[in-house]
C-alpha cells in the first residue's frame, strides 16, 4: 500500500506547529496504524530527521495512551477501536490520511501528537475514589451488589482515560470521562457515602481544568473506543443536581 500522511508537527509547547506531508510506499494492510508510524519514524531517523513523537504503550487497546485524531475522528474510523488496534486494512491504497493530536484547551500539545492529559488525574484526585485505607476493608461478601448494578458499574469503569471524548466534543467537555467515574462508583454500595460530595468536587475540578460544558451532542459516546454509554452524563447531571439544588450534599 502507498499512503500519504499529513501529520501535525510541533516541536514543543511554544512552537506554533504545522501539518507536514509524508509518503509511506511499503505499508502493509496487516500493520496497525502505530506500526505505520514506527516504519515512517525509522525512515525519518535514518534520513537524519526528527521522528514523530506520539504516546503509546500497551498497544492492545487498554492503557489509553494512544491519542491521534485520524481524518477528524479520534482513534480513526473504526468503531470501538483505539489507534493501536486500528489496522491499515481499514484504508485504501493511495489514501491521504490526516493525523492530528487531541485538540482541547485542557490538553495542551507537548510535542507533535503528544498531549498533556494530566487534567484527568486532577479530576480523579478531586474525589474519584472510595476513601478506604489499606487493611480496613470488611469481608468482601458482607456487601452484596445486585448484578445489574455491578454490570452497569463495570460498563462505566471500562473507561481507559484516553481522552477521545474530549477530543471529539465540540465543547471540549470531559463529561463522559467524568460521568463514567461517577457512575462506576455511584452504582456501587461502596461508593454511596461520598456520592454527593464526590460529584460536586469532581465537577468543580473539571470546570477549573478548562474543559467546556456538555451540550448533549453525543459526539463523545460515538468516539469512545470503549463504548461508554452516553447516559453516564445523565447520571452525572442527576447526582449533581441532587447534591446541589436538592441539597443532598449537606444532608449526606
Amino acid at each position: 500500500m502507498k499512503l500519504n500522511l499529513r501529520v501535525w508537527r510541533q516541536n514543543d509547547q511554544v512552537d506554533k506547529g504545522r501539518m507536514v506531508d509524508y509518503t509511506v510506499d511499503d505499508a502493509s494492510e496487516d500493520m496497525s496504524f502505530l506500526e505505520l508510524i514506527d516504519v515512517l519514524n525509522e525512515k525519518l531517523i535514518l534520513a537524519g530527521q526528527d521522528p514523530i513523537a506520539f504516546d503509546h504503550d500497551c498497544r492492545e487497546g487498554i492503557c489509553g495512551s494512544c491519542s491521534m485524531v485520524i481524518d477528524g475522528q479520534p482513534h480513526g474510523p473504526q468503531k470501538a477501536t483505539t489507534v493501536c488496534q486500528l489496522h491499515m486494512r481499514q484504508f485504501n491504497d493511495g489514501d491521504t490520511i490526516n493525523v492530528e493530536p487531541w485538540r482541547a484547551g485542557a490538553f495542551p500539545v507537548v510535542k507533535d501528537l503528544v498531549v498533556d492529559r494530566s487534567a484527568f488525574d486532577k479530576i480523579i484526585q478531586a474525589g474519584g475514589y472510595v476513601s478506604v485505607n489499606t487493611g480496613s476493608a470488611p469481608e468482601a461478601h458482607s456487601t452484596p451488589v445486585p448484578k445489574a448494578a455491578a454490570d452497569r458499574s463495570f460498563a462505566a469503569a471500562n473507561c481507559i482515560g484516553c481522552g477521545a471524548c474530549v477530543a471529539a466534543c465540540p465543547n471540549g467537555s470531559a463529561s463522559l470521562f467524568l460521568g463514567a467515574k461517577l457512575t462506576h462508583l455511584g452504582e456501587m454500595p461502596q461508593g454511596q457515602p461520598e456520592r454527593y460530595e464526590r460529584v460536586v468536587t469532581m465537577v468543580d475540578t473539571h470546570d477549573a481544568a478548562g474543559f467546556g460544558g456538555c451540550t448533549n451532542t453525543g459526539a463523545c459516546a460515538t468516539a469512545c473506543p470503549k463504548e461508554i454509554p452516553l447516559d453516564v452524563i445523565s447520571q452525572l447531571n442527576k447526582d449533581y443536581l441532587a447534591a446541589t439544588v436538592g441539597g443532598k450534599r449537606r444532608k449526606g
Binding site: 514543543d12 503509546h56 489509553g64 489496522h87 489499606t134 452484596p144 463495570f154
Partner: protein
C-alpha cells in the same frame, strides 16, 4: 569480552523469614518488625518507582500510613502501567464455592506450579494475603463479576481444580489497577504522595552502601533531577521486552532494575520466562508487539495443524483425518488444557517440523467449529465474543468461520531482583515488589497469580516490612551535592551524551529487533547448550555494534523517544547476556525453562533437584565481565517435589 564463564560465590541467605510453622510465619514476622513512630513517619521519605499494581498499591498504602512518598512513572499517568492489560483474573483462597479450596491448597498449587523453584515461606504468605486482597479491592469499588444473588463470581483458571479466580470480564488487571490508581490519586490529593509522571529512573543513588535516592529524567524537558530518600522501592515490572516482541507494553523495560543490579543488587533466575501459548501470530517485519488472547479460549477451542508437511490448503479444505490435534494426541487426559509451557512447546515443535500454518508458518489453529456445533453460535459468542472481535480487528479474519491462528509469545518473567522475605534486595534500603522481584512464582507462574502477587507485595507486605528497616536503621542526611549524588548524575549525563554522540547508521529499534531474534531463537521456549553458547557470542558482538553504530537523533533536552529507547535497549543488551548465561548454567528443565538436554524419554521436562534446587542470584562485576553466582538453597518442608505429569 564475553562472560561465557562465571564464578560461584558464597551462598545468599534469606535472613528475614522466620522459621517454625509455616502458617504462623507471616504473623510472627509482622509482630517482629520494629515500628516507626507515627509522628516520625512524615519525616521519612520513600521513593516508589513504578505505578502498577505493586508500585501503585505500595505508594498509596505508604502514603496512608503517613510516610512522605515520591512516586515515579514513565507513562503520562500512573493509570497506564501495564498491569492494566492483565485479562484473566486474580486468585484468592476464599473458598466461596466450598470446593475444597484453602490457603494451604493455593500455597501447594503455587509451589508445585512454580516447579519447586520458589521459596515456601513467601508463597504461603502470598496465599494467606490473597483473601485480604479481595476484601480490599471490593471495598475500593472494583466491579468484580457477580452472580444474580449479588455475591462474587469465580471461575477456574489455568487447569486448576478449584474455582478461585475472581475476575472482571476480560479486564481484571484494568479494574484492579484503577483501584490502586484511585487510592494513589487520593493520597496525591492528601499531599502524602508527590507524583512525577513522564519521569524515568536512570540511576540509583547509593550512600554508604545503602539505597538513598534515584536520578530521574523528565521525559518532556530532558531535565535530570535527583531525588533523595530513606528508602527506595522498585516496582518496575518485568523484562519480557528483551525479546523485542512480547505481550508487554512497548515502554516496559529493565533499566531501573538493571541500574540497581549494576550497583550491587543480585539478579535472580533471569532465564525464567513464561511463554503464553495463545497469542496472535506475527504478521510481518513491522510487528511491534504481540497480543495475548485469554487462556480461557483453550476451554472450548481445539488446537491442530495439518498432518502433512507443507499442506497449504485452507483449513476448511483439510478433512478431519488429515488434521493432527497434537495436544489431544500427546496429552490425552488434559488435552487442550495442558499448562502454558507445555502447550507452547508443543506448538513450537510442530512448527519446527514445518507443519505450522499461516503466512509465516509460525502458527497453529485454534478451532471453534466443534464448540459452535455443540453449543451453538450464541453461546460461543456470549463466552468469547469480545475476544473474537479483537482477533478479527487485528487479523481481518472471522474466527466464527475460519479457525483462529495462535502462536506462543513471551508474557511474563518470573526472574527478577533477588529479595529476602521482607522484599529487601541485597542493597540495604532498596525494596523490590511485583514482577520486578523474583520471589513467589519459581520457574513458572500459574494463571491469575501475577495480579495477586503485585497487590500482596504493594498493599500488605512492603508497607509493613519497610518500616522495620526504617525503624532499625540510622540514616544520616544526604547532601544534594554529596559526591555519591554528583557521581550518579554524572554517570547519567555521560551515558546520554554518549548515546547522542555515536551518530551511526542503525536505529535503536533495529538493534532491539536483532537482540529479540537472538533471544527468541536461543533463549526462548527450548534452550540448548549449543544455542546458548552461540547467543553468548552474538549478544556481546551486537552490543559492541550498538555502542559504535547506533543513531539517536535529537538532543537530550527535549522529548526524545529515540533516546529513551536507546537507554533501555542498552540495558537489555546486557541483561540478555545474563539470561543466556543463567539458562546455560541451569542444565535442567524446570517450569518455563526447558533445556533440550534435560528431558524424559517421552520428551517432557526433566527437573534436576539434586543439582539445581536453588535460586540462582547473580552479582554484577562489570559489563561483559564474568558475573558471580550466589545460590540460595531452597528447602521444601511442606510440599515435596514431584515430577509433573499431564499425560
Amino acid at each position: 569480552m564475553s562472560f561465557s564463564d562465571y564464578t560461584v560465590g558464597a551462598p545468599v541467605v534469606d535472613k528475614a523469614a522466620p522459621d517454625g510453622p509455616i502458617e504462623t510465619r507471616w504473623e510472627r514476622r509482622k509482630f517482629g518488625v520494629k515500628l516507626v513512630n507515627p509522628a516520625n513517619k512524615r519525616k521519612v521519605k520513600i521513593i516508589v518507582v513504578g505505578t502498577g499494581l505493586a508500585g501503585g498499591a505500595a505508594a498509596a498504602t505508604l502514603g496512608e500510613a503517613g510516610y512522605h512518598v515520591t512516586s515515579f512513572c514513565y507513562q503520562d499517568s500512573p493509570r497506564r502501567a501495564h498491569s492494566i492489560a492483565a485479562q484473566g483474573g486474580i486468585n484468592a483462597a476464599k473458598n466461596y464455592r466450598n470446593d475444597g479450596d484453602s490457603v494451604y491448597r493455593l500455597f501447594y498449587d503455587t509451589v508445585k506450579g512454580g516447579d519447586f523453584r520458589a521459596r515456601e515461606s513467601n508463597v504461603h504468605r502470598l496465599a494467606e494475603i490473597s483473601r485480604q486482597i479481595i476484601d480490599q479491592c471490593v471495598a475500593q469499588g472494583v466491579p468484580f463479576a457477580r452472580e444474580y444473588g449479588g455475591l462474587l463470581d469465580t471461575r477456574s483458571f489455568g487447569g486448576v481444580q478449584v474455582s478461585r479466580t475472581f475476575y472482571a470480564r476480560g479486564q481484571t488487571g484494568q479494574q484492579l489497577l484503577l483501584g490502586a490508581y484511585q487510592a494513589l490519586e487520593r493520597q496525591i490529593h492528601a499531599g502524602t504522595v508527590n507524583m512525577y509522571e513522564r519521569h524515568e529512573m536512570l540511576e540509583l543513588i547509593m550512600v554508604e552502601g545503602r539505597a538513598r535516592g534515584i536520578v530521574a529524567r523528565d521525559m518532556v524537558t530532558g531535565e535530570i533531577s535527583t531525588h533523595l530518600a530513606d528508602a527506595v522501592v522498585l516496582a518496575t515490572g518485568g523484562y519480557g521486552n528483551v525479546f523485542y516482541l512480547s505481550t508487554n507494553a512497548k515502554g516496559c523495560n529493565v533499566t531501573a532494575n538493571w541500574r540497581a543490579h549494576r550497583k550491587g543488587a543480585l539478579f535472580a533466575n533471569p532465564c525464567f520466562t513464561q511463554i503464553h501459548p495463545t497469542c496472535i501470530p506475527v504478521s510481518g517485519d513491522h510487528q511491534s508487539k504481540l497480543t495475548l488472547m485469554s487462556e480461557s479460549l483453550r476451554n472450548d477451542g481445539r488446537v491442530w495443524v495439518p498432518k502433512r508437511l507443507g499442506d497449504d490448503r485452507a483449513p476448511s479444505q483439510i478433512p478431519e483425518d488429515e488434521r493432527d490435534y497434537f495436544l489431544e494426541r500427546k496429552y490425552p487426559s488434559f488435552g487442550n488444557l495442558v499448562p502454558r509451557d507445555i502447550a507452547s512447546r508443543a506448538a513450537k515443535e510442530v512448527c519446527d517440523e514445518k507443519r505450522g500454518v499461516g503466512p509465516t508458518g509460525l502458527g497453529v489453529y485454534l478451532d471453534f467449529a466443534d464448540a459452535i456445533a455443540r453449543l451453538g453460535r450464541p453461546a460461543v459468542e456470549a463466552k468469547y465474543g469480545n475476544l473474537f472481535e479483537m482477533y478479527e480487528r487485528i487479523t481481518g479474519e472471522n474466527p466464527y468461520e475460519t479457525p483462529m491462528r495462535i502462536f506462543p509469545a513471551v508474557h511474563y518473567t518470573m526472574g527478577g531482583l533477588w529479595v529476602d522475605y521482607d522484599l529487601q534486595s541485597t542493597i540495604p534500603g532498596m525494596f523490590v515488589a511485583g514482577e520486578a522481584n523474583f520471589s513467589d512464582h519459581g520457574a513458572n507462574r500459574l494463571g491469575a497469580s501475577a495480579l495477586m502477587q503485585g497487590l500482596s507485595d504493594g498493599y500488605f507486605v512492603l508497607p509493613v516490612t519497610i518500616g522495620d528497616y526504617l525503624a532499625s536503621t540510622t540514616l544520616p542526611e544526604v547532601a544534594p551535592d554529596a559526591p555519591e549524588v554528583l557521581e550518579a548524575v554524572g554517570a547519567v549525563n555521560e551515558r546520554i551524551d554518549t548515546l547522542l554522540s555515536i551518530n551511526g547508521t542503525r536505529t535503536v529499534d533495529s538493534f532491539h529487533r536483532e537482540l529479540g531474534h537472538i533471544m527468541w531463537d536461543y533463549c526462548g521456549m527450548e534452550r540448548t547448550e549449543e544455542g546458548l553458547r552461540k547467543a553468548l557470542e552474538l549478544i556481546p558482538e551486537l552490543r559492541r555494534e550498538f555502542w559504535n553504530n547506533v543513531k539517536v537523533p535529537g538532543t537530550g533536552a527535549e522529548l526524545n523517544q529515540s533516546l529513551e529507547k536507546a537507554g533501555r535497549v542498552a540495558d537489555f543488551l546486557e541483561l540478555g547476556e545474563l539470561m543466556c548465561l543463567d539458562a546455560l548454567h541451569r542444565a535442567e528443565s524446570c517450569g518455563g525453562h526447558f533445556r533440550a538436554e534435560s528431558q524424559t524419554e517421552d520428551g517432557e521436562a526433566a527437573r534436576d533437584d539434586e543439582n539445581f534446587a536453588y535460586a540462582g542470584a547473580w552479582e554484577y562485576t562489570g559489563r561483559g565481565e564474568a558475573p558471580i553466582l550466589h545460590k540460595e538453597e531452597l528447602n521444601f518442608e511442606y510440599v515435596h517435589p514431584t515430577q509433573r505429569s499431564y499425560k
